[in-house]
């Protein structure tokens, strides 16, 4: 399968935070074959392992989160309308007139309602409705809907992907399943005999909530020697400062900040240079908005490199990325897990 197809296939999975196991079988079909074994833990982290075949080998963790932002049903109203609340940082601005899928006993289609301009009062025109005030139109009578949906039923965005110019693609769920796909592909490309250790790909759960849960407990259980944390990074657009974003098409970003391991980051950058892979440096004065803060503080501490795939319009149904960056990422991950130099320095 081409990397692009893998990215789109994985991004199409329904993995709303807390409900990551919904399409677990499909996930296994897509990437299970790249690995020797896989497990699911109590929080829904999916852990895929590719063994190097040597005893006492270092454990290399590659983390990308599996969950995506979404919603859950909070109430069922007359005429089959649903109210919802967000799971993860859903951008409220994208919701009105969006197509959604309600994952009840069966999958049903819904539309998030909007007030047409003809029926708006001038006072309403300037404010955005809070997510709890929006209604999802299902087209079902209440009694029928109650047979399919209940409070807590997850709701995701309808799957839709398009090719943009210059090898870019747009759609939902690239955060962070595009990274998960690149990581799986990178690990697939690395020959077993070249692996610098046992490779654990953790597709972690529940990253998008305020309590970053999955990665912490997953990393605790794996207890790796060092980790490559891969998440999307905010792409530069005309309305955001360059210093707070990374260029889409500029290669994988490597974050330099107080919690990422400087030496590991430098060695990863050198790997990229050696292989002729584009990369860019992203800087933060505190932590990162990724799993790195939880993973690096697990147990006795885990050295982390925090890598990013540049992504525009993050947390919308029109996230866009450059396939050239994705290709770079898969190659960099293959290089990272086969780097004997890094293993030498960071193995416990």
């Amino acid at each position: 399968m081409e990397l692009k197809e893998l990215i789109v296939s994985m991004a199409s999975l329904m993995t709303v935070t807390g409900y990551e196991s919904h399409d677990s079988e499909r996930l296994d079909e897509l990437i299970g074959g790249f690995f020797d074994e896989s497990t699911t833990d109590a929080l829904g982290n999916r852990i895929f392992i590719k063994r190097c075949g040597r005893e006492n080998a270092p454990k290399i963790l590659v983390d990308a989160h599996l969950d995506e932002i979404g919603m859950i049903v909070t109430d069922i109203k007359e005429n089959g309308f649903l109210t919802v609340t967000n799971v993860g940082g859903v951008d409220t601005r994208i919701l009105q007139a969006s197509d959604v899928v309600i994952y009840g006993k069966e999958k049903i289609f819904g539309v998030i309602g909007s007030t047409p301009p003809h029926l708006q009062k001038p006072s309403e025109a300037k404010s955005l409705r809070a997510i709890g005030e929006l209604l999802i139109d299902t087209g079902y009578p209440k009694e029928e809907l109650e047979k399919i949906v209940r409070i807590g039923t997850p709701v995701g965005f309808e799957v839709k992907y398009v090719d943009l110019a210059n090898g870019k693609i747009a759609g939902k769920g690239f955060d962070d399943k595009a990274c998960a796909a690149c990581a799986a592909e990178g690990i697939r490309r690395a020959a077993r005999e070249d692996l610098a250790g046992d490779v654990y790909l953790m597709l972690s759960s529940r990253e998008e909530t305020t309590a970053v849960a999955g990665a912490a407990t997953g990393a605790y259980a794996i207890d790796p020697d060092y980790a490559f944390v891969f998440d999307v990074n905010l792409g530069t657009t005309p309305d955001v400062p360059k210093s707070e974003s990374v260029e889409v098409g500029g290669g994988v970003s490597l974050t330099v900040c107080p919690i990422t391991d400087r030496r590991l980051t430098r060695m990863t950058a050198e790997l990229a240079e050696k292989r002729g892979l584009k990369y860019q440096i992203s800087v933060s004065g505190s932590g990162t908005g990724t799993n790195t803060p939880s993973i690096h503080l697990t147990g006795a501490g885990i050295p982390c490199v925090d890598a990013g795939l540049p992504l525009k319009s993050m947390h919308t149904c029109a996230e866009s990325l450059d396939m050239a960056d994705a290709e770079c990422a898969a190659e960099l991950i293959a290089a990272f897990i086969t780097s004997k130099e890094i293993a030498e320095v960071f193995k416990r």
Binding site: G18, Y19, A42, T85, G152, A211
Partner: protein, 332 residues
């Protein structure tokens, strides 16, 4: 249930100062469990041992309550305070309060402060002292005050008073322990009465780390949407045990939610599903401990939370007990 709730509510237990509450609860649960101990942070843990082959199941309710800590004594004898936990000052003005040592007083806003501007530094506790000297005989800086404990019965099975958040959870745990005392259960059941929940889910975190449960259930109050003007929420007093799906700190294990719903349906125990769009519970810290545990919470719908006068329906609490007992039996 009402008598039990009164007993567990009577003991002082402002966050960080839960010793008296722990003693009281220990006395009430000792007969139904094999061992009881408190850990470094003060969590009370009572264990019913299984056959050594089973899971570790952690049931947790917090025994701490919101209150006030004295930070300074004014010349005229009033006590300046810092809040412990999320106090609703608008709701608590002129309420009676009592210190851990039994000193009584009123929590009052300073003169001329508008309700919109209410905050901790605009309030003081008046214990009726003539001046600083007299006050200092009764109170030291660092002493904690709680709202006066009192649980009264209203219409039907509804009660109001303080600190129902979360002594109702403590009472539920005791009732569960009582119901399971003579049952043959393979699992080890850990009844944890946690400390410092109101200041950030602190106690349950270390308790869960030490226990490393595979299955966790928290018991706490939750908000409702059943009085005029409430934030919309499909949760009402009297509609049964609220099985938590999500709050701001946690997304509960969806399969555990399903299992609880199935048991409730099968045993005809009244239940409702709860999504709280704010707030946090001990569920989060249990879920996150070590390599993680499957976690959920059963909540008692409660109005006027953190006002010093919560209101709830005892039948909902009894449903929580019944549901837990049925669930634990079903998995053993």
């Amino acid at each position: 249930m009402l008598e039990l709730l009164r007993k567990v509510s009577s003991a002082h237990g402002v966050s960080g100062f839960e010793k008296k509450a722990a003693e009281t609860i220990r006395g009430l649960i000792a007969d139904y469990t094999d061992e009881q101990y408190t850990d470094t942070l003060g969590n009370l843990i009572a264990v019913k041992r299984g056959n050594g082959q089973g899971r570790k199941v952690m049931l947790c309710a917090h025994m701490d309550e919101i209150g006030f800590m004295v930070t300074f004594i004014e010349e005229k004898g009033q006590l300046c305070i810092a809040p412990v936990g999320g106090i609703s000052f608008a709701a608590s003005s002129y309420d009676r309060v009592m210190s851990e040592k039994g000193v009584r007083g009123l929590i009052v806003p300073r003169g001329g402060v508008k309700p919109a501007d209410y905050s901790a530094d605009k309030f003081y506790i008046d214990i009726g002292a003539k001046n600083r000297k007299e006050a200092e005989k009764k109170v030291k800086i660092g002493d904690v005050f709680r709202f006066e404990a009192d649980v009264v019965r209203l219409c039907g099975k509804r009660v109001c008073g303080h600190p129902l958040d979360d002594r109702i959870g403590c009472a539920i745990l005791i009732e569960i322990a009582k119901a399971l005392a003579n049952e043959k259960i393979n699992d080890d059941i850990y009844y944890v009465f946690s400390v410092q929940e109101e200041v950030g889910l602190r106690g349950s975190k270390t308790a869960a780390y030490a226990i490393a449960p595979e299955l966790s259930l928290a018991y706490d109050v939750t908000a409702t949407g059943d009085v005029p003007g409430d934030t919309p929420m499909a949760c009402s007093l009297g509609d049964g045990a609220a099985i938590k799906i999500k709050d701001n700190s946690v997304i509960c294990d969806p399969t555990l939610v399903e299992e609880l719903v199935d048991i409730a349906k099968k045993e005809k125990i009244k239940y409702q599903l709860e999504i709280l769009t704010y707030g946090g519970t001990d569920t989060a810290s249990m879920q996150m401990a070590r390599a993680g545990s499957r976690a959920c919470a059963l909540s008692v719908p409660s109005r006027y939370i953190h006002s010093g006068n919560e209101m709830l329906d005892l039948d909902d609490a009894i449903a929580c007990v019944d549901l837990t007992v049925a669930y634990i039996k079903s998995i053993n």
